[in-house]
């Protein structure tokens, strides 16, 4: 869960925002004049939910390596790169789905692993190395 207030602090500093969102995610949120606070909060909540699937102690959250993008149909899709992809492989986490919801002042997300719909490989889904 991410309160919108926390995001207000982040978006006021571009360098800070660039540490938690990838360039592609930042492009998603700057199509309008005002930053999409609920949208960013939802993404951050989803990144944290995905990270918790990896069950790794003593690791920092690889914010930019867990990208929450948008499918053509509008639903969120997870793309893992770099350390995030490696942590998922080590945790034998396959395809990941997330669901994001918003309330008046915060966003919440849930992430779960599901059998890989494409049956591509035991560990492959949207991961890129």
């Amino acid at each position: 869960m991410v309160p919108f207030g926390r995001v207000h602090d982040l978006v006021s500093d571009k360098a800070m925002l660039a540490r938690v969102l990838s360039p592609e995610e930042i492009r998603l949120f700057h199509s309008t004049d005002e930053p999409d606070i609920p949208g960013i909060a939802g993404r951050l909540a989803a990144k944290e939910a995905v990270f918790k699937l990896f069950h790794v102690p003593d690791q920092t959250l690889p914010w930019r390596g867990i990208e929450i993008l948008t499918a053509d149909g509008g639903w969120p899709v997870v793309r893992l790169t770099g350390r995030a992809a490696e942590l998922a492989r080590l945790a034998a986490v396959g395809h990941i789905a997330v669901s994001i919801t918003h309330d008046a002042s915060c966003a919440m997300a849930v992430a779960f692993t599901a059998p890989n719909p494409d049956h591509r490989s035991a560990h492959g889904s949207d991961r890129q190395h």
Partner: protein, 80 residues
């Protein structure tokens, strides 16, 4: 290289975010006590960087350096 700020500035920054607290022991685990969560951690790294003038490679952070104020001080404030 001389470090500009002091660990007290980091302690004060954390305390400003936790008005329910008056002090933070140097050995108190900041993460286990939830004084610092994953989002605050991003900002904490930023505070340590701006306080010390040292740039931290955000993608290769050793989280052990951020467990307590003492470990932060040892890793970033005490120069050899």
């Amino acid at each position: 290289m001389a470090v500009t700020g002091s660990i007290d500035e980091v302690r004060d920054w954390i305390l400003r975010r936790h008005p329910e607290r008056q002090t933070i022991d140097a050995e108190e685990n900041l993460i286990q006590t939830r004084l610092v969560d994953s989002l605050t951690f991003v900002e904490l790294v930023y505070v340590v960087e701006s306080t010390t003038g040292v740039e931290i490679d955000f993608d290769n952070i050793d989280i052990q350096n951020f467990q307590t104020l003492a470990t932060i001080e040892k890793a970033f404030f005490i120069t050899a």
